[in-house]
Structures are given as C-alpha cells and as structure tokens.
Assembly symmetry: C2
Homo-oligomer: 476 residues x 2
Amino acid sequence: MFVEVGFSFVCVLMIALINYQKLNSGHVQQLRAIVGDDQVSTAVAERKLRAQDMSRHEERLGDVVVWPRDAAQVADVLRLANEERLPLTPWGAGSSLEGNPIPTYGGILLSTERMLDVVKVYADDFQVTVQPGLGYKDLNHKLASYGLFFAPDPGANATIGGMLANNAAGIRTVKYGACKDNVLQMEVALADGRLIRTGSRSIKQASGYDLLHLFIGSEGTLGVITEATLKLAPVPVNISAVTASFDSITAAIEAVVAVRGSGLDVAALEFLDEELSELLTRENGLKLGRSPSLLMELHAAHQATIDHDLALVREICLEMGARTFYATADTAQRRGLWHARHHLFETVLRCYPGYEWINMDVAVPISAYPELVAFSSQAMADQELFGVLLGHAGDGNLHVTLSFNNGTTYERAQIVNEQVIYKALALHGTATGEHGVGIGKARFMPDEHGPALGVMAAVKAALDPRGILNPGKIFP
Amino acid sequence: MFVEVGFSFVCVLMIALINYQKLNSGHVQQLRAIVGDDQVSTAVAERKLRAQDMSRHEERLGDVVVWPRDAAQVADVLRLANEERLPLTPWGAGSSLEGNPIPTYGGILLSTERMLDVVKVYADDFQVTVQPGLGYKDLNHKLASYGLFFAPDPGANATIGGMLANNAAGIRTVKYGACKDNVLQMEVALADGRLIRTGSRSIKQASGYDLLHLFIGSEGTLGVITEATLKLAPVPVNISAVTASFDSITAAIEAVVAVRGSGLDVAALEFLDEELSELLTRENGLKLGRSPSLLMELHAAHQATIDHDLALVREICLEMGARTFYATADTAQRRGLWHARHHLFETVLRCYPGYEWINMDVAVPISAYPELVAFSSQAMADQELFGVLLGHAGDGNLHVTLSFNNGTTYERAQIVNEQVIYKALALHGTATGEHGVGIGKARFMPDEHGPALGVMAAVKAALDPRGILNPGKIFP
C-alpha cells in the first residue's frame, strides 16, 4: 500500500508540477498586499542574488523575491502560493552546499532575510527564541553577555532557519550535538497557510508525535520555520586547543578512533590531510607541516578536567606516533586556529587558481572511518584527480573536496562522489552527514532509505498535497 | 485544508472503528500459520495478564495474544491485521503509566516478550543493536563487561521497544537525554506489513525526513519497532551521590534552579517532598529527616572533576540553607539510595494501605519549576487530598502522586490532575514529560498542540489509513 502511496504520490507530484501556474502580475499585486510594496521585488538583480547557493548546482531564478517580516505574513504568502499552485522556495543566507534553496521550478522565493529578531532570551533556562532569518554568528554575538551560546557551528554565518531546515552541524557537534539536538519548540507555517507550534519549552517532552524533528532537516519541503526556541550551552570557562600531526593518514585516524573510544568528551575533533596541513602551515602559521593532522578543542568547567583530558589525548597521540603535539589555552591562538579551519575552503580557492571544487559530505560510524578515508584516497587516485580530505572526524563525518577544470575532470569527480557515497552506505553510514539532500543527493535516496522513502513521500503528500514547497529537493 | 484533513481523518477513523472485524477462529489459524502454534494463545489467563499496564485505566482483554520471534513475523501479523481490519496493540513489559498498551478495542495483542536478542554489540562505536522485547536492565547487565551502558533509566525493567515507543526517560535524562536522544537506527514494521529501516549507524545524519523521531514516542500507533540500534555511554569511572535536605520546598527547588543554572553537568537531580523524605529515612535508612530533599549523582572521567563539582553543589545547597548535606563515593551506599528511589512507589503502596494512587507526569522549563510545585501543593490542599510530590527536578519534570479511596476522592484527584496539567501548559511546558499520552492524556492534546494535532492526525492517516495500530491512544 505504501508502495502505491509512494508511486501515486510521485504521479500526483508530476501532475502538480505540470500544473504549477506561472507567476503573473496579479500574483505580484497580491504579494504586495500581504507584505507591503517594499518587501517584494521582481528585479533581476535581486532574483539573481538568490539563484544559487554555495554549491555547483545550476542556478535558477525565482520569479519574485518576497521578504515577509513576521509569521503571519509567511503564512499568508504560503496560503496564496497553495491556492494559486505557485512553487515556493524558502531562502536564508544561501550558504548551503547541495542546492537546497535553489528555486528549481521558479515561482516565489521566500526570503527570511528580514526576520532578524531575538524574540526573547530565557537566561535561567538556557534558551532563546528567535526569528528564522537571524544569522548564527549574530545570535551568538548577542548572547555573549549572558555567558551562553548556541553550540552547532556550521562555519558560515548561516541563518538559524536555514540551519534547522537542513539539520546543520559542524565542528562542535561531537560534544554538543547537531541542530536537531538543540531545538525545543518551533512555529511552522504549513503549505496551506496555517501556523502551528510544535514542541514546548520543557526539555522533557513525550506528548504526541515528534513533529519538531519531522520539520528539522526537511529542507523547507514540509513547511517554513517562522520561529524557533533553541537550547543554549554555557560558554565554557576553560578551553584548550590542540594540534597534532602524524606520519600517515592511518595513524591520524587511528588516533581519532582511540580518542573517541576512550570516552573523552572532546568539543571538536577535526581531521586534515597532508595537503591541507601544509596549506594551513604556510598560509596561517599553524605548526603542522606536511603531515596528516588533527585539530581538537576541549571544554570544561574546571581546569583540572582540562589538564587530565589533555594528558590523555597527548598519550594517545604519542602512542600513534604523533610527529608534533601542541596544546594551548591562549584565546588568540585558539581563535586563529579555528579561523584558519573555517576559512579553509576560501584558502584552497585562492591557492589553487584555475580549479573549481566539489565539496562532498558523507558520514559513517567511527570505527569505519579509517576504511572510508583510505577508500576515498584510492578513489581520487584511481581517477587521477587532485583533491583534499578533511572532516569532522570525531563524528565520522568526511568531506572529500575534489578539483576539476574541465568537463572530463568534472565527470571523473562525479564518479568519485558516487563511489564514496556508496562506500559510506555500505559501511552503515549516510550519504549526507550535515549538508542535507537538496538537489545533489536526491538520486541516492532510494538506495539509502529503501522503502522508507515511500513513507517520506506519504508524509510529504499529507502535508503538502499540491507539492508547492521547495519542489525538486530530497525526492529523486 | 489540514483542519479538513484532521476532521475527515477523525471521521474515517470512526468509520474504521465501526468497521473493525471481530477476531474469529480463521484469524487465529492464520496467526498460528505465521508464528507457529505455541506462539499464539487465546487463553483468558494470558489475555488477562496483558489487559492493563501500571496505570489506573480500565483493563481490556485482547482477543488473542501473539508472540512473534522476528521482524518478518511481526510484519506478517500486521499485514493480516490490516487486510482483515483487526485492531492490533503492541505490548512490551506492561510497565507504562497512561494505559499506553491496553488493547482498548480488543483484537490482536502483539507481544514482543519473545524478541529478546542482543543482535550485535559495536563496542568501538559505543552502539548496540537489539530486538524490542529485551528488558532495559537485562541489556545493561549484558553490556557491563564492555564498560558501556544504555543511559535512559525509567526505573522499571521496561522493554527497549516500549521505552522507544513511549520516549521514556527517567533519572539520568538530565545528563544523557531521553530515549529520543539515544537511538541511531530502527527497523519498523508498518501497518501494511512492510518493513522499513530509518536512520543509520552514523551519529551525524542529515538525509531525508527524520522518520526515526517520528516513530519514537508514537506509542505504537504508526508502526511496531522490530529492531533498534542504540547509542551507549561509557560507564563513568568516578561516581558520587549526594543527598541534601532543606527547610522548605521553595529552598530545595531554588537549589535545583541554581545547580542547573550554574552549568553543572549532574547525572541525576531528583526532588522529594517532606513526606517522602521521611518515608525513605524510616524505611530505607536515608539521612533526610522530614524535610524536602534532593538526591543527586555526579559522573566524571576524573576524580578532580567530581571534587570540584561536589564543592560547588555543596556551596549552592548551603547557600539555600540546607539542613543536611551528604556526599558519598561508596558504591553500596549509592546503590542503596537509588534502589530506595526506584522502589519508592512500592514503599508508598506498602506504607499507606487502603489507598490507591494516581501518578501524574508534567514538565516545565526549569525556571517555572518552583511555581509548578507550589501550585500543585496548593491544588492538593484545596481538594483536601493526601498526596506526595516528587520529580526529576533537573529536567523540570514533576510527578504529583495522589491518593484516593473512594469515588469522591477519585473525582477530586482528577480535578487536581487537570489543574496541574493546565498549569504546566500555561508555564510553556507539557502534559507529559515521560509517561506518554496513552489513554489518560489524550483529552489534553487539543489544548497542548492546537492545530498541530491536525498534522499528527494527517500523518497517522497517511501511515495507518485503516486505523488498526493501537487505536484509542494519543488522539482524543
């Protein structure tokens, strides 16, 4: 029956696509009536600015950009889109990496860029309620005076709404969890223009279906997040950063497995291959040399804990034959380290002119990480491609970043991409650890999820029967 | 439109209920063919044993008890139930508290009691795959030799399947999270007999809709969990237990808020009112006296961390005027403490003969906990009822436990229950922190979830269109 539901949904979706209306001037008038004249634009420049994210997927212009200011306006825009069968794609900062917010079928591009409020800080509860367009870095800047921070750190100044919609993660997930682990309550506008609240401000919740997690990571295909209450963490009193370099990738990765297996509660555990280590040594002054390296961070309420943890980490790294091991509690040095890591892709772009890059994203159980890394290196070599390997190793999350400079090398990069994804799936992992499915990973969904994909399609059909929300994403 | 979907679903469900078939001997024959003769029973004794959980909700006999051995058998039983329109209720240990597994409409009682395997321990990944009927305590007994444990601790020896289906939590949730935070992958049998896998063994997952969390806490109304891969934690090397007693409930609860607000990572933080403190002093030898008390546990990899944390906890408690403060690292003393806490309800039953008890379960943000506790005390007093207050205070989770001994006091207890639930909702909390909705909380769902309940109904209709799975639960 679900097979039927799945298939018939696909048919319905196809018909819906064929039946999308083309946006006309009447619709633009209606949008202006909802959000105000200066919150709507059909200017090519505005549409072009929001036609592509940070991925290599083909750009597509929406027909109109709309900037609602509040939840009621979002809901009214959705209601109009649903009634008029207009495709609608939510847009945050455009920092995603799989084409997630590209308006594949044109129509309305609903931007949250003007929904920037911190609605309320609940300092005693370590919680904050925000509008979806607020940037991650901007939020943490505002929270600094409370001694609190929102822990998931994707690197880019993504919007909170975009981060939740894609279940973003990043370098601190190994200790603090991904977005899905740090949200308590959301307000969501549904395809038909109704507003719902899901979850509560209680940390414990066992009341009805977990719609919160259904919307988190659904990439705007089930609804648009209009407000979110986030869990915050206290800014750690003691922080130390560690760099360690090794003779081989194998030694570095074995150290990752050993650190995690020891039960050490590291706050970041990043892997860089020798190429990237050399680059950061040269460009950012890190002391790694041309050796596969690990970057770590330790957080604790007490210095004694940090001291103990550092001693254990050092012991593990030296046992794996670390060439170098440096630890620092100096704030400037630590910030420099993570600044270098966060801007690594820009550094790569700058230092290897003439190349374009594909940034892949798979994740596996920790114990399978050495095999995944070895396989990926070999797959790059087999295709005679230049690429680099890095990852949030503490979570088993690997980013293979491949260069290309023509159609042939692009094709070969896609072969590696596919091989690495199937390897990750064979190792009981996933096709995407943190970038989401978007356009790029949709074709792998049947192999990753099997019949569960039919259930996802049934849920989509139940919540967005006309298929107006971010069409062309997740489902192949 | 979703309002329509919600309402039309309710109508469909009503028709489905009317249209349930009565189980006949042909069905029993078919069940025997699926699972084997000795895995099916229509004996009244077997049905009676599984007619009621630990709640006060009215017992109801299923028409037949079926004990499948594996996922394929579960799936085949569901397929039969769906084709024949037979209501089906999954059963674990029967330790739930809101009527969650009572077969309200009779039909098939599907017991997981013979699905007891530890399928595989992934020690390096801190993961284990189990069948759903395995008891929580039995699992942790088997994991002890690996130095690992499954952290959510509901007290009773609930089955893993039942715990996941109800998103159980307990005393360790404050540090380790509830069930929903400790599952990576599940195999689920759907209403139509298909088996799906959702999630992966990677800790990071951003691939498609989060069906894992949709099934967790759905109380067997969307599918039957046939296998689960759980996250494990390393058994902490250093553990200390703390008891502290206070002059007033207010002082004790303010200490809870202060401990949580300090960012201390406590592994348990339990509240007992003066009545219960006196009971545990008399019956179990705890040194509390007749004073509102806190029981705590601290876990750490290093003794220095424990020492620092203990000093801070002590300082906070003394600042709140603690009458007594004891800390111990002695294993026997600590086990005695938690044994006393876990068997508190049995002790209450024994020490107050002639009374029956209602065990309530609400949760609020920590900052609202003092107000909730004060309100609950007053509500009991207003109704002239004898009751006790206890809770997983570190999570804002309160259990008001009320006595009754006749129809009048039962009615008055229900008034308090309702008042406390609405107070919790007004404080941005939830009608149930860990017991689930079952039968008892269903009538509060419209007020807690508003239009989101219509979305839940739409999901239910999409996944179980004939309404065969655990009917009479969650939805009012």
